[in-house]
């Protein structure tokens, strides 16, 4: 008995000490963000292409030009103070901002611009395809970049694209300007400093990476000499909190200042709670259904009548207003709202009778389709709704949830039948989405249209013409036509555009987020 009470006493003592150690509230000059950072692979802007990493690049690096988060069509001169487009429309000369320097103290020079862009192409990592659309390859990129003088650098390109497109491209994270001297001092086996930059920053942004522990935390410290101006707060700690319910608890208790990616139920529970506010930010992410016309095992999938019927079997309003209230809005074109030239109308509605008619006319009976979805909300919710509406027209949907990487593997290998996917534009230009959904010449490049088995050489030509056009109005008109064609005759059913609902503590001010996935800015945040 004595030994037992001793044990009980010991456990109680431990508990007592533990309770005395609980504290809440984040430090005053540190911003704490609760999100998942499990997706991060590399913080080298030539390599990182996940949400966590691209959102970081806006804070630790700068580009020649950047898009204004409040008005994304507006280009803001950043490391370039001005530029001059050549008369033939195939090159631009940039004047670099005077007095700009990296966090190391090294000045920003034309050599840094050339180094950053050429290494991104030569390393040929995930986001390299963006610069490849300029016709830049590892073999030829050096011939397109040239130092004009101490303050000027010239960029040329060989692809048939217009200068407005090129400028838009240069706002993408891969075009971040890296401190060449720092990167090269850490070069190993010709990697252009990639090994070092995976976990360290060498830029001119408002912050620098203080520490990065994979799956645990990412810490930024303010960069006092940034040309963007000094950040208002001293540090930003981005904590890895994998579970959305845990993120909600943290922001509710004040142990986190910002929480991302909470589910519909959690957001609903937080609305109206004291101390927190749910802020909806416009997002360019779109959810769409993709049908695999190249799947030989299920011949019904090839039939355009099935695709047409599918357009009438989605309960657009029900899903947007009831199931996922606040998280999505109905949008049925491949250019998201906010992009110039995006179609604003939504011609399709849930119409089971019409769908039945289309299927009957095409002689499609007893159709069964396996629908691959990511095993997380909102995709599982959308899938369940589709299952019931498709069933009303006699189409059996077998929903197969899997983890993200497995779904992507199926899509790329074209072994799926149908799927619900999402798409986020890679840069703020219509060509980003158009080149994915409206180009497929079956020539080896696996665009999204290829993954749906949709061969469209004429439409591909039109898309190429749209990116080459010099006049913005002409471009917008062409994209209008291309969207219409995709909307009415492709194996894609574009359904929703997301709203990013971010939860902020009420004392957090100055947080900026733009429509592009990477446009997250911490520099002006105050508490």
């Amino acid at each position: 008995m004595k030994r037992f009470s001793l044990l009980v006493g010991a456990v109680s003592l431990v508990l007592f000490v533990a309770i005395s150690g609980a504290s809440a509230a984040t430090p005053q000059n540190i911003l704490v963000v609760a999100q998942s950072i499990d997706d991060a692979v590399s913080f080298d802007p030539a390599e990182g292409y996940e949400l966590t990493t691209v959102q970081s690049f806006n804070n630790i690096y700068q580009r020649l030009v950047q898009s204004n988060p409040a008005k994304p069509t507006e280009l803001v001169p950043t490391l370039a103070s001005s530029w001059k487009i050549a008369s033939d429309g195939k090159s631009i000369v940039f004047e670099l901002k005077s007095g700009a320097s990296f966090s190391s103290g090294n000045p920003v020079r034309p050599e840094d611009v050339i180094f950053s862009l050429s290494r991104a192409v030569k390393l040929n990592k995930s986001p390299a395809f963006i610069l490849n659309s300029l016709g830049w390859t590892a073999e030829n990129v050096d011939s397109f970049l040239a130092k004009v003088d101490e303050r000027h650098v010239s960029l040329k390109w060989g692809a048939n694209v217009g200068p407005s497109f090129v400028l838009n491209l240069l706002t993408a994270p891969i075009a971040s300007i890296v401190d060449q001297k720092i990167a090269q001092s850490h070069e190993q086996a010709g990697d252009f400093g990639n090994g070092y930059l995976k976990t360290n920053s060498a830029g001119s942004g408002s912050f620098v990476i203080k520490s990065y522990v994979p799956h645990d935390s990412l810490v930024f410290d303010a960069n006092p000499t940034s040309p963007a101006g000094k950040a208002k707060l001293q540090s930003v700690i981005i904590k890895n909190v994998a579970d959305p319910a845990a993120r909600r608890l943290l922001v509710e208790q004040g142990d986190a200042d910002i929480a991302r990616d909470l589910g519909t139920d959690q957001i609903a529970a937080l609305k109206g709670k004291a101390g927190v506010s749910v802020v909806p930010f416009a997002s360019a992410q779109q959810d769409y259904i993709i049908i695999n016309a190249a799947n030989e095992g299920n011949p019904a999938l090839k039939n355009p009548a099935l695709w047409q019927a599918a357009r009438y079997l989605v309960d657009y309003d029900g899903i947007a207003t009831k199931l996922l209230s606040g998280q999505v809005s109905v949008h049925q074109a491949f250019l998201p709202n906010g992009f110039p030239g995006a179609l604003a109308d939504n011609p399709y509605k849930l119409d089971v009778a019409k769908a039945k008619g289309i299927l009957a006319k095409a002689g499609l009976k007893d159709v069964s389709i396996t629908l691959s979805v990511f095993n997380q909300p909102p995709f599982t919710d959308i899938a369940q709704s589709l299952q019931s509406t498709f069933a009303q027209a006699g189409i059996k949907l077998v929903v197969q949830p899997s983890i993200t990487s497995e779904v992507y593997s199926k899509i790329r290998s074209r072994t799926y039948e149908a799927a619900i996917l999402f798409w986020i534009p890679d840069y703020f230009d219509a060509h980003s989405n158009a080149s994915a959904f409206a180009v497929n010449r079956d020539d080896g490049s696996k665009t999204v249209a290829w993954r749906a088995g949709w061969s469209i050489s004429k439409l591909s030509d039109k898309t190429d013409a749209a990116v080459a056009a010099k006049d913005p109005a002409a471009r917008a008109k062409l994209y209008g036509e291309i969207q219409r064609e995709v909307q009415s005759s492709s194996p894609f059913v574009f359904a929703f555009q997301s709203t990013d609902q971010v939860v902020l503590r009420s004392n957090v001010k100055g947080y900026v987020q733009g429509i592009n996935a990477d446009q997250v800015y911490y520099a002006s945040v105050t508490k």
């Binding site: 309770i19 430090p27 692979v41 390299a128 909190v241 579970d243 319910a245 845990a246 497995e406």
Partner: protein
Amino acid sequence: MSTARGRKPLRRFFSVIGGSVLTLVATVFALLLITFFLNSRSPIDPALAVAGDHASQATYRQTRLQLGLDDPIAVQFARYVGRLARGDLGISRSTGQSVASDLSRAFPATIELATLALLLSTIVGLALALAAASRPGGFWDSVSRALSLVGTSVPVFWFGLLLLALFYARLKLLGGPGRLDDVYQYTVNIKTGFLLFDALRSGQAGAFRNALSHIVLPVAVLALDGSARISRITRSSLLDELSKEYATFARSKGATQRRILLRHALPNVRGSTIIVVALTYLDLLEGAVLTETVFSWPGVGRYLTTALFAADSPAILGTTFALGVLFVLINATVDSLVKLIDPRLK
């Protein structure tokens, strides 16, 4: 001076050690082989996981080349084993860091959690088993049986969130998800990765108490299942012992139930108790991935699960290797311990 007889025990000692090492190597090798083969059958494309969905075909092919994915499986395995033999666990494809450094962070976190959970499980499990066995059918017996049921059937995820909602959010008594509050991020000098130990060594009392307040809830969640197991096995072993002749004899001589339990029955069930405790420890070490997810505990379970989802071969194999070695060592230790304490085998 060593005679022929004197040399025999030495030789036998070395042959026993050699035999154990051989067993260890053979077991771990077989484990790696099976894991490698199963991983090669994964429906996840590892190159796609690295290159990303938007990457160009050229980047994708380059990634496949750099990862050596187009080589025959046997060649890939041989390459891996060769590097492993040189002490190189490789680079994780999803973190970009060496697997060794990833594990050097993940293991201490898990070991800290698992060890404390085991301690609590053993204390509670044994206490309950003794109370239950001393009066079968009584109050404590019912409690112990209820605990066994609840402990093994309650969803860990739900229970963890419930505890967080209650003790962290509502009552504000204990720390939330994560190992330490951000205020202490830079004050603790992290040497070993065992936060409680590091905080003590740095002389940071506040950090120590804070780390303790964060570890209590995940330990409680894990201990629920652990104590259920330990109490169930120990209780039935004790009841077995109590029905034996020597117990009846001792009772007839006037010994109290308590004395019989503590001085006769409990020592006799040492063997099975040690085994169930060791098995519980192995289970806790291998990865309380759901608990780690809810409490944002960056341990081995989460690391391995994230690696599996990304088909991150080096991380999967490295973690399996480390866990395999740990398992074999713990099993061997338990085996020798049981043999040691069993007087019948002396």
